[in-house]
Amino acid sequence: MKTPTLIILTLLCAAGAYILVRNRASDIAYRAGKKPALHSLPYYYGMLSALWCALPCLLIVFVWTVLDDYAVHAAIVNLLPESVQALPASEIDLVVNTVINLALYPNALLSSSTPDYLIQAGQDYLRWQQLSQLSLTVVVLVSLFLAFSLCWARIKPKVKARQQVERIFQWALLLCASIAILTTIGIVLSVLFESLRFFQSVSFFEFIFGTHWSPQTALRIDQVGASGAFGAVPLFVGTLLISFIAMLIAVPVGLMSAIYLSEYATPQLRAIVKPMLEILAGIPSVVYGFFAALTVAPFIRQSGGFLGLEVSSESALAAGLVMGVMIIPFVSSLSDDVLKAVPQSLRDGSLGLGATQSETIKRVVIPAALPGIVSGVLLAASRAIGETMIVVMAAGLAAHLTVNPLESVTTITVQIVTLLVGDQEFDSPKTLSAFALGLMLFTVTLALNYVALYVVRQYREEYE
């Protein structure tokens, strides 16, 4: 049986086991005129047996499928002649792929020039696979039968079905919750390992402090001027420049609109305006990127030309402005929350002493909410630094070391995308440098988040 059929069969068997065991349990439990004779409600026994049928079988199928590829691969390699086995690993992989393709599509690929050993290996591969599939089917069926008969025999008052089901349920929940940890570990491992490989060929300090970035490595050994330079300072400066422009827009606008909405606006106005502003946050960044590249950048270029300024068509200003607009609702909703959390009594006290409303806001409300506002700004900055599509579409590719917002700069995220999109081999420093950049990005955003949390925890005023 094929694997999907097997999975469906397993699930059907589990459902069947649930119904059968539940009915039997309720027969036992409610024999006429007696007290319930089982520990748990009948459907717990049903659920327990369904779980016992499904979980081990699915696990077997999963592990088998994963191991199958390796086993078959090793088996094919063993079948190949010695001369082929001596080849480097990547070429052996190619040969193995040829064998599999030949076996699967003989009509399309087979020709008179195909070497005999490939055809032979292909035949053996097919036999292997059949054998593997057959034994998997047998194993699954046997374990289904075992699990079912075991559960059938265990419909007894001594068996605490409910406790067992609940324990399995709790473990499943814990497993789901720990996916967050697995993801973090996955991110750290994937970025860290590739970065370490990168730092074997390029020194860490050259990467951090070098001022020249041109990741194009030589395709031929004798090629001139393409040895690859991995000094990431221009990227860091470019990223900071664009993020700074974005924050210059987003912080005042976001903060002021949050203040107006939480302090001045009537509830009706607020109910209309707030969701409207949040539309800005719901628009995908690729749309902003398109807007920045095709509308804002030409506009800035033209108005710059009008003023007699030389503006690059991929200026940092355009990308930064549009990114700022995107982050406005982020800043405003975070600050809105913290402003709302400032107790009304503080405002009343200040107003009662004769302060105007704006004085109250500036001298009382904002200082009270400051840790929250700072943390919101830090989170917004981390978002600006990690934003990708706007800069990919509207900022430049060439790494200029400049802080002039009218020139084109490139950012960490732009370089990651350009280095990794398209064909690539996994072991050139060019590809690996993208992971090193990813590591920098991850570290910086993580640090910003951590500082943001720390600021809130450390300096938050408790008003109770």
Binding site: L173, A177, I179, A180, T356, M389
Partner: protein, 441 residues
């Protein structure tokens, strides 16, 4: 008040009310300025939103219509190279270019008797879309009776002509683009003769990507996005709820729980491109999954949306009053029963709202998909989760790189479709919150 100030001036000692009055006008102006800043900030946001939407709509609305010209096509079997009578299969390989050519030349000869030079012929032919042959094939396959007959057919024009006609319709000079003087005069004559019409651009919704703007559509990208969204919903919704239930209802207060919580909060703020790197290194590099398939895209988007869903679900679960749990426990319910029968149903509106917002985010996400190779040129509509496909935001990214003016139009139209999906998803979330929310309070 005047009296008070008078009194204090005689006493030569400035009283408090004097100090207040001296600054009052200035303070009121400051107050007024502050309010204006606030209103200005909100207006700024609105204006940006307005400019963005007008810009996209004004650029993109044209793509929903396509220009067609009316030609008298003679389905000549010799020219079509359909020689056996009644053999429908031949229609697939027939030479439709020939009959279009004949029809164009005949159309031209009807009006101006001057003979066309070879260059002119080529120019005249290039006015018709290269995709017109498919519509002729459809006509012939649908009604084989037209063979050997002359029929009036509407044919889609090339994107340059399309742009030219549309810009003429808006008044003004007309955007000529790559059209020569001679080609413009032909098109103008068609317009005068009433041979040109605008119809709804069904191609845009029914076909995949193409190098020719007039044949390019969003179907394959839309299906790719749909498959990815299905994977994301199927995985992140149950896992997210389960994780939230664990953290809110089960988790003991200890270091492990703390660590999980910190992790989730951090993951929610990790840039999406990092999730792309994760997908590239783990799913494609380590597990050897194929590139550009919706399954991998969906997995990456799942990992990306999980933190959002967990956080919003936790908030919703937390909002369920503990009296309900206590009542259920008091009646003898087990913990699992309390969670499944009471807490989750009550928390569902909030959970759903948060989840839909997370899915909308996933639908618009581009950067991680670029990392796992979903930037290929995909013409075919993907049939399942393992078929190479594109996604709507990626299609927007790809088209926005194309220099043709017609692709700008299509990019904006694709953005409009994407925004329509996002707005309706968010609308659904808001509706759910209003409809189902607060039933337990």
């Amino acid at each position: 008040m005047r009296k008070a100030s008078h009194k204090s001036s005689t006493a030569k000692v400035p009283s408090t009310i004097d100090l207040v009055n001296r600054n009052l006008a200035k303070r009121k102006r400051a107050e007024w300025r502050f309010r204006v800043y606030g209103i200005g900030a909100i207006l700024f946001g609105f204006i940006c939103l307005l400019i963005l939407f007008t810009d996209i709509i004004s650029k993109g609305h044209g793509a929903f219509f396509k220009t067609q010209i009316h030609l008298q096509i003679h389905f000549n079997p010799q020219r079509l190279q359909v020689l056996q009578p009644g053999a429908i299969e031949q229609f697939n390989n027939a030479n439709y270019d020939n009959v279009i050519q004949d029809a164009l030349f005949a159309d031209n000869a009807r009006i101006s008797p001057a003979l066309l030079s070879a260059v002119d012929k080529r120019q005249l032919l290039s006015l018709i879309s290269t995709g017109a042959v498919y519509s002729l094939r459809e006509t012939l396959t649908d009604s084989p009776g037209v063979l050997n007959q002359s029929v009036g057919v509407w044919l889609t024009v090339d994107d340059d002509v399309d742009n030219y006609v549309k810009s003429l319709a808006h008044g003004g000079e007309g955007y000529t683009g790559r059209l020569s003087q001679q080609q413009q005069s032909w098109v103008n004559r068609w317009i005068e003769n009433g041979q040109v019409r605008q119809t709804f651009n069904t191609t845009f919704f029914t076909s995949g990507d193409s190098r020719e703007p007039e044949q390019a559509g969003i179907r394959s990208a839309l299906m790719g996005s749909l498959y990815m969204l299905l994977v994301t919903i199927g995985l992140s919704f149950p896992i997210g709820i389960a994780a939230a239930v664990y953290l809110e209802e089960y988790a003991p207060i200890n270091r492990v729980t703390d660590f999980i919580e910190v992790n989730i909060n951090n993951l929610a703020a990790v840039p999406s491109i990092i999730f792309g790197l994760l997908g590239l290194a783990i799913f494609i590099g380590f597990f050897d999954m194929p590139r550009s398939v919706p399954l991998v895209g969906g997995l990456v988007l799942t990992l990306m949306t999980l933190p959002t869903i967990i956080i919003s679900s936790r908030a919703a679960i937390k909002a369920v009053p503990s009296s309900i749990r206590d009542a259920a426990y008091g009646l003898g319910a087990s913990k699992m029963q309390v969670v499944l029968h009471h807490v989750l149903p009550l928390a569902m509106p909030g959970v759903l709202t948060g989840a839909i917002i997370g899915f909308a985010q996933a639908l618009g996400e581009t950067a991680p998909l670029l990392m796992i190779g979903m930037v290929a040129f995909i013409v075919d509509v993907p049939a399942d989760l393992m078929d190479p496909s594109s996604a709507l935001p990626v299609q927007i990214f790809l088209w926005s790189d194309s220099p043709e003016r017609a692709f700008v139009e299509r990019t904006s139209a694709a953005i409009m479709v994407l925004l329509a999906f996002l707005i309706s998803m968010n609308g659904l979330a808001v509706w759910l919150r209003h409809r189902l929310g607060r039933s337990h309070q």
